[in-house]
Amino acid sequence: MTSVLQAQALGKKYGSRWALRECTIDIPAGHIVGLVGPNGAGKSTLLKLAGGQLEPTAGGISVLGGRPGSTPAQLAKVGFVAQDTPVYASLTVAEHLRLGARLNPRWDGAMARERIARLGLVPAHRAGKLSGGQRAQLTLTLGLAKRPDLLILDEPAAALDPLARHEFLQHLMEAAAERKLSVVLSSHLVSDLERVCDYLVVLVDSRVQIAGRTDHLLATHYRLTGPRRDPGRLPAGQYVVSARHTDRQSTFVVRAGDPMHDPAWTVSRISLEDLVLAYMDRRTAEHRRVTQEVQG
């Protein structure tokens, strides 16, 4: 299977601060990929690097086998819906479609018009007067009608109310299935991604914590609850994602290849949200470092 996004030791520095570092990742084609992480984790940076809006400071990135943003052909293959879904306030909806038609060789005008009509957007309205949800739908239409192989969306639903968000993601999913395109979208809301994504990348503190198919992730992560003990004394072959201790009890989220059969522990399945939260938890991030040092 081909890759939509491949990065080797990718890094981006703003001044002296790394927004993204040592990012090595290989996302296969045909997925709806969720990029999740707290605000400021580097999600936008990674997506902008993939869209060719930014140049990497270190390492390399290739999208659909090409250097992002380098040529018109490469730009034509990748759709990008930016954060806050910007549109030209003084241009009408119809003029935005015209812009798309003028600037994209693979433009699907009939589909764009049909979509706008179905959404109830008035072509003669100025884009500056649209609601947040309508604006997001307009930029999604621009992104889809370009007929890209990969559509990147940076927090597309962040500014929308729950209903509009649901509708937006629904449309996105339908369109992706219909046109067999790969999608990468970022969000800090796991619940959004849980509904639409079948592949997940967790980004915390400008580093990729884990990446993989959601079903695979769910199958390899467990919550262990038992009497208090050190993470170092867990069975071999397990990677501690997070650890919480009360006076008597320890709760670990671990990643393990094989199912657990230890009578000392209560083993339970974990939801995607809890899995992501475990990776996002800062205290555990520190703890994990200590653990790794002990093990190393």
Binding site: K48, G51, Q53, L54, E55, G69, T71, P72, A73, L75, A76, V78, G79, F80, A82, Q83, D84, P86, V87, Y88, A89, S90, L91, E95, R98, L99, G100, R102, L103, N104, P105, R106, T139, L142, K146
Partner: protein
């Protein structure tokens, strides 16, 4: 891309066109009248040799529109830099729309090339049309202007001929470049204004005088270069001569860079105590003011005294750029701005390819 550029720019373009049209009509209506008044005046004054007086009257009468039009042509390029150049990229960055347009199937270089090309051409054409119309209208006034307002004079030179086109396209690209560097509209506009004003001041003060080696020559004193003279004190040993710093005899309209009085041995004459008319320097010449042609009591007038000072060997020594070099200078200066524009364009393309997100 041309469609999008035009769609985003058409409002400004229409407004500019309207303003230029009104200006053009006003000039077209009043221009012929001005030219015929000038022709009639010349026909009147030539027989009795009073053209200097006619020039003074004629220029004095139209001084205000003359200065206003000159100012318009000087300001126009700055407006192109401020309102077309600086916001070109910053407006997109501030609205986030650069992320929309730079993710269509078109490279940023192409986007910038069309924007710079199209709007740069409009800026150049507007300034060119405006400057040529004003040059045509002002022709009779340019011919009768006082030396400080002649066509080669720093203020007027930049508002005539083809240089405004160079200024306009330069100011536009300067605005775009500073916008790309500063990234915010208002600061970019402020920096553009300051930078462009500084360059427009530096050019006539520091660069233009030396575009070609100036001519240095000595001239006899006469009505053109002596604005008046008074006895220096009661003792009667010297005459205070007010020497023009902006005119030399026989080269009407020349841009005088320096002018001073030298004695027969070629040394510069001192003396600057008295204050005379503007654009003059006061120089004291040792000549008797109690007897001879320079004595007020002799009643021979200034011309006799001037002749006496000339006889004694005093001369005006001046460095100047003659009016014949007007079009050469226009060409060199426009070319200089074109080169600067190219350099800025290159910088712009470099920055926009790598430096913006």
């Amino acid at each position: 891309m041309i469609w999008l550029t035009w769609r985003q720019f058409r409002g400004s373009a229409a407004m500019t066109a309207a303003v230029l049209l009104v200006l053009g009509i006003a000039l077209a209506v009043t221009g012929p009248g001005l030219a015929s008044r000038y022709a009639a005046g010349i026909a009147d004054c030539t027989p009795n040799d009073t053209c200097t007086d006619f020039f003074d009257r004629f220029f004095g009468e139209y001084q205000i529109p003359f200065l206003a039009l000159t100012l318009v042509v000087l300001i126009l390029p700055a407006l192109a830099g401020l309102f077309w150049g600086a916001p070109l990229v910053t407006r997109e960055l501030e609205a986030g729309t650069h992320l929309l347009v730079w993710n269509q199937s078109i490279t940023r270089a192409r986007w910038l090339a069309v924007k710079l090309g199209l709007i740069g051409l409009v800026a150049m054409a507007s300034a060119g049309v405006c400057a040529l119309a004003v040059t045509w209208w002002s022709d009779p006034l340019d011919k009768s202007a006082v030396p400080e307002m002649a066509r080669m004079a720093p203020v007027v030179f930049g508002a005539r001929g083809i240089t405004p086109m160079g200024y306009a396209v330069f100011a536009f690209v300067l605005g775009v470049t500073l916008g790309v560097l500063v990234r915010r509209t208002l600061p970019a506009m402020a920096v553009t204004l300051v930078a462009f004003a500084a360059i427009q001041l530096a050019m006539p003060l520091l660069v233009r005088p030396y575009l070609m080696p100036p001519v240095t020559s000595t001239f006899e004193l006469g009505r053109t270069n002596v604005e008046g003279m008074v006895p220096q004190d009661r003792q009667g040993g010297a005459m205070q001569v007010f020497l023009s710093t902006s005119a030399v005899p026989g080269h009407a309209g020349a841009w005088v860079l320096s002018s001073d009085l030298v004695d027969p041995s070629g040394r510069v004459v001192g003396g600057d105590r008295a204050s005379g008319p503007s654009s003059t320097i006061a120089r004291s010449v040792p000549v008797s003011t109690t007897s001879g042609p320079c004595a007020p009591r002799a009643g021979l007038g200034t011309d006799a005294c001037t002749a006496e000072i000339n006889r004694l060997g005093y001369r005006q020594q001046a460095t100047y750029q003659p009016l014949e070099r007007f079009w050469t200078f226009q060409g060199i200066e426009t070319g200089t701005y074109a080169l600067l524009t190219l350099a800025l364009t290159w910088l712009c393309f470099r920055r926009i390819r790598t430096g913006l997100s």
